[in-house]
């Protein structure tokens, strides 16, 4: 055992040992600086490709459904149209004046006189879950007039026929000396645009 491990080896064995050592060193270097980073990079790219494929599939699925979405959108626009047509929009920032422009022909047609309008507090509608971006509210306008009970009822019948989304919120008909000049007080409500919950 004198001279150590290598010294005791035959020259061929020594050569073999060094060649083995050299190859092993090269192999380790290749693994550490070549294979391992390449495998990591491959794993990353495979993952990225998977994500992109999922995204691509989702996009393709969305695009395949584009026609359905468009059709649904058209249907929904059709459904909301009657409500949008019935919305009370302010006239020069006054809801009462807009109501006047809508209701005067009906009220006068029914025979009511001394008609006046004023704004009443709005009432919030129950919320959907989740909330829509654009909320709607119940706009209220007070109408006071003089006329007979029949004229008041005639006005309500015309209103319900011509403006089916306008509702009677409160009413007071008080008898006066002349039956044709009863005091009529009504609070009428419309759907109107309310608050915007988010941009």
């Amino acid at each position: 055992m004198k001279g150590g491990f290598l010294h005791d080896m035959a020259p061929n064995a020594q050569r073999s040992f060094f060649v083995t050592l050299a190859f092993s060193a090269v192999a380790v270097a290749i693994y550490m600086f070549g294979v391992q980073p390449a495998a990591d990079s491959l794993a990353r790219e495979t993952r990225r490709k998977g994500e992109l494929e999922a995204s691509q599939n989702s996009i393709n699925a969305d695009l395949r459904g584009a026609e359905t979405v468009k059709k649904t959108l058209d249907e929904l626009r059709g459904q909301i149209a009657p409500y949008e047509a019935a919305l009370l929009e302010p006239l020069l920032e006054s809801y009462a004046m807009r109501a006047k422009s809508i209701l005067d022909p009906l009220a006068m047609g029914a025979g009511l006189s001394d008609i006046s309008y004023s704004d009443e507090p709005f009432r919030a509608l129950p919320l959907t879950k989740p909330m829509a971006r654009q909320l709607y509210t119940r706009a209220a306008v007070r109408m006071t007039a003089k006329g007979s009970y029949q004229e008041a009822v005639s006005f309500l019948l015309r209103l319900e026929k011509d403006l089916p989304l306008v509702s009677l919120q409160a009413m007071e008909i008080t008898a006066q000396q002349k039956p044709s000049e009863q005091s009529i007080n009504m609070i009428l409500e419309w759907p109107a645009k309310g608050k915007v919950t988010r941009k």
Binding site: A66, V69, L73, A124, P126, T128, L168
Partner: protein
């Protein structure tokens, strides 16, 4: 010597490393070389795969980029669909709460006996909406906590006797008035009035309060 084997051991003790020292001497570098070649192949294969996948990624990205505009339009439309559905739902809450009382009020005039002189007909105003959050903390609520509203219809008038009033109340129990009143009613007052009828009879004043059908602002 006959029949007996003779074994001569010429190996040095340091050379005894395995049962087959010659094969080990050849196999070890060979295995190391094969391992190195294997790793080179692995490396090469990984690089090749990486190149292929990179090319595929570029293709997919190009495809996604090409569809991005159409897709964003579709996404916008999908968002609009969701928004419109919610808006319609809330407007339907309103639509379901709409009350039509014209017809029953017209019929009320028909069923009211002539001997009744109506002095007041009113649908009670609604109390102010409470949009204060529980505990009075934070900003006002976006919407009410209840979706039902109940109001009263008050009919007040004068009559010479109780029978016309009774007849009117019985008439109001009919189904045709279901949109105006429920069967829940309360006679608030029935008393002698200070005024007199044209024929000089003392009149009776009455006030009947009906609970109106609920207005339900829901689906």
């Amino acid at each position: 010597m006959n029949g007996e084997s003779f074994h001569l051991n010429l190996m040095k003790s340091g050379e005894v490393r395995s049962s087959s020292p010659v094969r080990l001497r050849v196999m070890m570098p060979l295995l190391a070389m094969l391992a190195t070649i294997g790793l080179v192949v692995w490396w090469g294969s990984s690089l090749a795969q990486s190149i292929i996948i990179s090319a595929q990624i570029k293709t997919i990205e190009a495809d996604i980029d090409a569809k991005r505009k159409d897709h964003s339009e579709v996404m916008e439309q999908q968002g609009l669909v969701r928004e419109l559905r919610l808006q319609i739902e809330q407007l339907e809450y309103y639509g379901n709460g709409v009350r039509a009382v014209g017809e029953p009020l017209a019929k009320l005039a028909e069923v009211t006996p002539v001997r009744i002189q109506m002095t007041e007909l009113s649908i009670s105003p609604l109390p102010p909406q409470n949009l204060t959050p529980p505990g009075k903390k934070g900003p006002p609520l976006w919407g009410p906590t209840t979706n039902v509203e109940t109001q009263k219809l008050v009919i007040a008038g004068r009559a010479t006797r109780e029978t016309p009033v009774q007849a009117m109340m019985e008439s109001l129990d009919a189904d045709e008035f279901a949109g105006l009143v429920t069967k829940a009613r309360k006679v608030n007052s029935f008393r002698q009035d200070s005024s007199q009828s044209k024929d000089g009879r003392r009149l009776l004043a009455f006030e009947v309060e009906y609970t109106m059908p609920e207005r339900r602002f829901s689906k």
